[in-house]
C-alpha cells in the first residue's frame, strides 16, 4: 500500500484534537525511551500526518476529528492505526521513513570517511530498495509474537546491512575513500581532553574485541588462553580452569611457567602436552601455534571491518591485547 506523507495543517477545530493525538503517539505508542528523538527525529509529526491522511477519506472520522467533541473513537483509531505492528502491516513505507536516521547513522558507522555525496547516494539507494521491496519481506517474515520491539530494530538493521553490502558489491567499490568528516579531535575540543577521548575510543574497541571473542563460543576459552601465551600475558589458574575444567596441578604448573623470554615455538612446544592431554589429540606444537595465528588474523580482520580504514595489524594487535587484559579482560559495558 502506498502512503503519501505530507504535512497537513489542522483546522482550528482540530487543534485540540491534534494535541490529543500527539499525546497518544508520544506517550503511549512511541515514547522517548523506546524511540529517542535523536534516532527517530520527527517521528511524532510524521505519524500524526499519516493518521490525518488516513482519516481524511473517512467522512465520519474526519468529521469527528474536526469537531470539538471528546471522541474516544478517534483515540482508539489512533491507537489502532499507528501502533507499530499495524504500522508495519499497513504502512510499511512509513516504517522505513521512521528509521531514516538509523540508516544514516549506520552508513556513517560503516563508512565514516566516505565522500558524503557517495554516502548520500548509497543512503538513497537503500531507502529505495527498502521501500520498493525489502520492507515487505521484513513485514512478511518478522514475527511480533516472538520479538520485542527493540528486536525489530535489530532485524531491520540486519536487512539494511544486507542491502548495504549488496550495493557495495554491485558497485565494486569501497566507499571509504576521501571525503569530509569531522575528525574526532574536533569533537574532543568540545567534550574533553585527549586522554578522555582516547579512553572512550579504546573502550569502544575493547568492547568490540569482547564481542568478537564471545562469538567464538565454545573455543573462546581455548582461544583466550592461547592469545595469552602468544602475547606473553600472565596466565592464571582461572584461565586454565576455564579452558580445562579438569586440569591437574601439574597442568597448572606447566602452563603458568614464565614464558616471557621464550620464543613462540618454544612456548607452544611446552604447553602442547597439556592441550593434547585434555583434548585427547596428538597435535604438534606447530599446529596449535598456527591455529592461534589464524585466529589472530581472523580477529584482526573482524576488528578492521568495523573501521573505514585498516587500524589493526599484527604489531598493534599485540599492544591491543595487552590493553585488553590489562584489567583482567573484563570490558563489559554490557553483560558480555
Amino acid at each position: 500500500m502506498q502512503t503519501a506523507i505530507s504535512f497537513t495543517q489542522p483546522t482550528s477545530a482540530g487543534s485540540n484534537r491534534r494535541q490529543t493525538i500527539m499525546e497518544i503517539i508520544t506517550s503511549e505508542l512511541y515514547p522517548e525511551e523506546s524511540f529517542p528523538a535523536k534516532y527517530f527525529p520527527n517521528i511524532h509529526t510524521l505519524l500524526f500526518n499519516l493518521f490525518i491522511e488516513i482519516i481524511k477519506p473517512q467522512d465520519e472520522l474526519w468529521k469527528l476529528y474536526n469537531s470539538d467533541r471528546e471522541s474516544i473513537r478517534i483515540k482508539e483509531a489512533v491507537r489502532q492505526t499507528l501502533n507499530f505492528r499495524n504500522l508495519l502491516k499497513n504502512h510499511p513505507q512509513t516504517v522505513v521513513l521512521v528509521y531514516r536516521e538509523y540508516i544514516k547513522k549506520f552508513l556513517i558507522f560503516k563508512s565514516a570517511h566516505a565522500d558524503p555525496t557517495e554516502r548520500e547516494d548509497i543512503f538513497q539507494e537503500i531507502l529505495a530498495r527498502l521501500i520498493e521491496d525489502k520492507i515487505y519481506k521484513i513485514r512478511e517474515k518478522y514475527d511480533f509474537n516472538f520479538h520485542k520491539i527493540s528486536s525489530f530494530t535489530s532485524y531491520f538493521m540486519v536487512t539494511v546491512r544486507n542491502i548495504y553490502i549488496d550495493i557495495i558489491r554491485e558497485r565494486n567499490v569501497r566507499p571509504l575513500t576521501a571525503g569530509g568528516v569531522q575528525e574526532i579531535g574536533d569533537v574532543a575540543d568540545l567534550h574533553g581532553d585527549k586522554k578522555m577521548i582516547d579512553r572512550l575510543l579504546i573502550n569502544e574497541e575493547l568492547t568490540k574485541l569482547q564481542t568478537i571473542l564471545v562469538l567464538y563460543y565454545k573455543i573462546r576459552a581455548r582461544l583466550e588462553l592461547c592469545l595469552k601465551f602468544k602475547y606473553r600475558i600472565p596466565v592464571t589458574r582461572h584461565d586454565i580452569e576455564k579452558c580445562f575444567p579438569n586440569c591437574r596441578e601439574e597442568d597448572i604448573k606447566t602452563l603458568t611457567q614464565d614464558f616471557t623470554t621464550a620464543k613462540d615455538k618454544r612456548v607452544f612446544e611446552k604447553i602442547l602436552s597439556v592441550f593434547n592431554y585434555h583434548e585427547a589429540r596428538e597435535n604438534k606444537s606447530d599446529t596449535l601455534r598456527k591455529w592461534v595465528n589464524v585466529k589472530v588474523d581472523e580477529i584482526i580482520m573482524h576488528l578492521n571491518r568495523t573501521h573505514s580504514a585498516r587500524v589493526y595489524n599484527n604489531k598493534n594487535f599485540a599492544d591491543f591485547i595487552a590493553l585488553y587484559y590489562q584489567d583482567g579482560g573484563n570490558h563489559e559495558n554490557n553483560a558480555l
Binding site: F146, L215, R232, I233, R305, T306, N334
Partner: protein
C-alpha cells in the same frame, strides 16, 4: 510465512536469527540461542561479521561519528606505552625487517654489477691484484688531473704511439673494463691458439719483464697491444711473421691491463694481467 527464530538459510544464520544474536550480545550476555546456531557462528566469519556490525552499531549508533582510523590507532599506541610490556612482545621487528631488505638488495645489486655484469668475481679481483683496498667505480677521467687519456669516441689506436711507446699512463686502479672482459674467453676459444703466458689475472711487479707466449706459432704479421682498463692502448708492438713469444720490458704503472694479439684480419686473443707495486 513467519520464520522460526533459529532458522539457518543458505548455510548461514537467517536475518531473524542474526538479529536475535545481536540482541543477545547487547542485552543478555551469553546468547541463549540453539547450540547449532552458536556453533555455526563460531566457525563462520561471514555471520560473525554480520552480527558484529549490527550489535556494535546498535550498542551505540552514535559512536562511530567522526572517528578516524588513525585516531584509533594512535590512541592504542599512546595508551600501551604505560603498560608493562613483556620482553619480546613489544620488540619491534619492522625496522629490522626493513634493514634486512636493504641489506639483501644491496648484496644482490653488488653481485649483479661486479660478478655478472662486469664478468669478474670478487675473488678474481682481490686474489690477483694484491689490492686489498675497496673496489672503486670506474671513471673515465685521468688518474692525474690534466693527463690525456683516450676520449670515448677515440679508437685505442688513435691514442697510441707506435712502436712500443707508451701512449697513456696506467691509471693505477684495478677496475675491470666490461667491454674487454666480455671478450676475453670468447676470442681465446675461437682463435685456436693456446696461451702459455701470461695467464689471465697473473700479477707482475712493476718494472719486471712480462713474457707473452702462445702455441702454436701464428702466421703473421702480428700485433701485440697492451690496453689499460679504460680501453686506451698503452703499448703497441708489431711482432713480425710467425711469432710465438715476446718479452715486454715494461714500466707500467700498477693497475689492470689487457693485452690483445691481432693479425691483419682478426683478433686472436685477449687476456689480462695486473701490475703491482
Amino acid at each position: 510465512m513467519k520464520t522460526t527464530h533459529y532458522e539457518i538459510e543458505n548455510g548461514h544464520l537467517s536475518d531473524a536469527l542474526t538479529a536475535r544474536y545481536a540482541d543477545a550480545l547487547i542485552e543478555e550476555g551469553i546468547p541463549n540461542l540453539p547450540e547449532e546456531a552458536l556453533l555455526h557462528v563460531q566457525d563462520c566469519t561471514e555471520c560473525k561479521d554480520k552480527i558484529i556490525d549490527v550489535s556494535i552499531f546498535l550498542r551505540n549508533p552514535d559512536s562511530s561519528i567522526a572517528k578516524s582510523a588513525d585516531r584509533v590507532k594512535s590512541a592504542i599506541t599512546d595508551n600501551t606505552d604505560n603498560i608493562v610490556v613483556m620482553p619480546g612482545r613489544k620488540w619491534d621487528l619492522y625496522p629490522l625487517r626493513i634493514a634486512a631488505i636493504f641489506f639483501v638488495t644491496a648484496i644482490l645489486l653488488g653481485t649483479y654489477f661486479f660478478v655478472f655484469r662486469d664478468g669478474a668475481s670478487f675473488k678474481e679481483m682481490f686474489s690477483n691484484t694484491g689490492d686489498t683496498g675497496q673496489i672503486k667505480q670506474a671513471e673515465e677521467k685521468p688518474a692525474v688531473p690534466g693527463q690525456k687519456t683516450s676520449s670515448p669516441g677515440e679508437t685505442p689506436a688513435n691514442g697510441a704511439e707506435k712502436n712500443g711507446q707508451q701512449t697513456t699512463t696506467g691509471n693505477g686502479v684495478n677496475i675491470v673494463n666490461p667491454n674487454l672482459e666480455s671478450m676475453i674467453d670468447t676470442r681465446y676459444r675461437s682463435s685456436g691458439i693456446q696461451i702459455i703466458s701470461p695467464l689471465n689475472n697473473t700479477g707482475y711487479t712493476a718494472g719486471s719483464d712480462i713474457v707473452f707466449a702462445w702455441t702454436p706459432p701464428v702466421q703473421g704479421p702480428l700485433t701485440l697491444k697492451i690496453i689499460n682498463n679504460k680501453n686506451a692502448v698503452v703499448y703497441e708492438y708489431p711482432l713480425g711473421v710467425n711469432g710465438c713469444e715476446f718479452v715486454l720490458k715494461q714500466n707500467l704503472p700498477p693497475g689492470l691491463y689487457y693485452w690483445k694479439l691481432e693479425n691483419q684480419d682478426d683478433l686472436l686473443h685477449i687476456g689480462k694481467f695486473f701490475v703491482k707495486k
